[in-house]
Amino acid sequence: MGTFSFGSLLRNAMAGHKDWPRQWRAPDPKPAYDAIIVGAGGHGLATAYYLAKEHGVRNVAVLEKGWLGGGNTGRNTTIIRSNYLWEESEALYDHAVKLWEGLSHELNYNVMYSPRGVLMLAHNIHDIQVFKRHVHANRLAGIDNEWLTAEQAKEFCPPLNIAPGMRYPVLGAALRRRGGVARYDAVAWGYARAADRLGVDIIQNCEVKGIRRDANGAVTGVETTRGDIATKKIGVVAAGHTSVVMSMADVRMPLESFPLQALVSEPVKPVMPCVVMSNTIHAYISQSDKGELVIGAGTDQYISYSQTGGLHITTHTLDAICELFPMFRRMRMLRNWGGIVDVTPDRSPIIGKTPVPGLFVNCGWGTGGFKATPGSGHVFAATIARDEPHPIAAPFTMERFVTGRLIDEAAAAAVAH
């Protein structure tokens, strides 16, 4: 398959880019694996990669009902940050940010990680109080986050409208300088290629339909659209479909699945220097390297598996964008789509073991799990390999809903990403 290098790029450019080999195999499922990962999104592929790389578990299959990266990984607005409120979350998301920083090198694949700064706007007194609390909490945890006045925010992001006459005036902003964006499909492809090189079988168009268990309840394998496959360890990383997959092992989840939407504009020259988010008026925006404005909207209010959301949700977001950035009013929007996100009651993920021996789950990332992709895969792989929670993952078990030790990140995570 070869390693990407300046030399290989040059050689292939000279040859008209006709000789690039396939980046991963398309294997048929083997009768048995040491571990099976359900879902080839970024989190599932990262899990398989770290299982093979750090734990020597190479006889692994990742089963995907569609194509790899076709779920939320390929539908998200790619905002990366770790300015969450509680220490447990700060540790988890910052673990990911640290991995992002070296990821292109680690995978030998350019994931286009670009820490260009994430600006979160405050529009009322409540926002100011909440964001300042976050700034202080983050500083105590050693995570950069600073408070800007409206004028300083405008200096950092010149297209921003801070006119006092706005319906929801900008009163200030929290700036996370190390936050930014990355290229979503490069993340999925980079992990897929790197995992494949370590021997992991990535099997697409293979939907898991059932989970087999022995007399003691322990898992013995899966039933799929490409036949039965035996295994003693299953990691479910199925995002919006987690409740459906877990019900195959009679495990009921504290999850609800909602459509979340995004849209992109026609491409234009560089105009947005950073990411801007507003939780209060439900809008966030950045610019891709192709030049499209990438705009994120909110969730619908009802459960859905349709991968489409209501149009009134996106128009509501565009109202907010037009008010915040009047210069974008005449831009045309090219595409709009939805993804199904799995939301927990406390807006924090669930990573860990389940009541079923051999069954592990990594879910509940809801509207904001792309940023955690490397860290999530890293701690989940350790959890599966050692059969006990990685220390960073330990607070995120399902049992927290019974003990009451919730990790409430509604203010940091709900709606926004």
């Binding site: 479909h241 409740s243 459906v244 009921r252 989840m253 504290p254 999850l255 609800e256 699945s257 209010q301 009802y302 459960i303 859905s304 598996y305 349709s306 209501g310 149009l311 009134h312 009651p345 809903f401 019974v402 003990t403 009451g404």
Partner: protein, 95 residues
């Protein structure tokens, strides 16, 4: 956007309504005999089905009445609308 048939006001646009989540969740009791697991189930565990879902809706910008809806979570088709406190009528489409 859904078109929802309020049993009191007739068909109205979804933006007039609030979805209140899964219907028919019973509060466990008596209080002193309920263990933490049962409370967690009551508060947090949800069916979240791919297919027919029974959910509560509030006509917030209308008559302000609550009622139940049976809706398909893939096609969004509303299969039945029925009053609070009642179970879903079995004669309608679906199961």
């Amino acid at each position: 956007m859904l078109l929802i048939l309020c049993p009191y006001c007739g068909p109205r646009a979804e933006i007039e309504f609030r979805c209140g989540g899964e219907s028919h969740i019973e509060r466990p009791g008596p209080y002193s005999e309920v263990d933490d697991g049962a409370w967690a189930d009551y508060l947090f565990t949800r069916k979240n089905p791919k297919g027919e879902h029974r959910e509560r809706w509030l006509h917030a910008a209308g008559c302000r009445q609550w009622f139940n809806v049976a809706r398909d979570t893939v096609s969004h088709t509303i299969l039945a609308v029925y009053p609070m406190g009642k179970t879903r009528p079995p004669t309608e489409a679906g199961t």
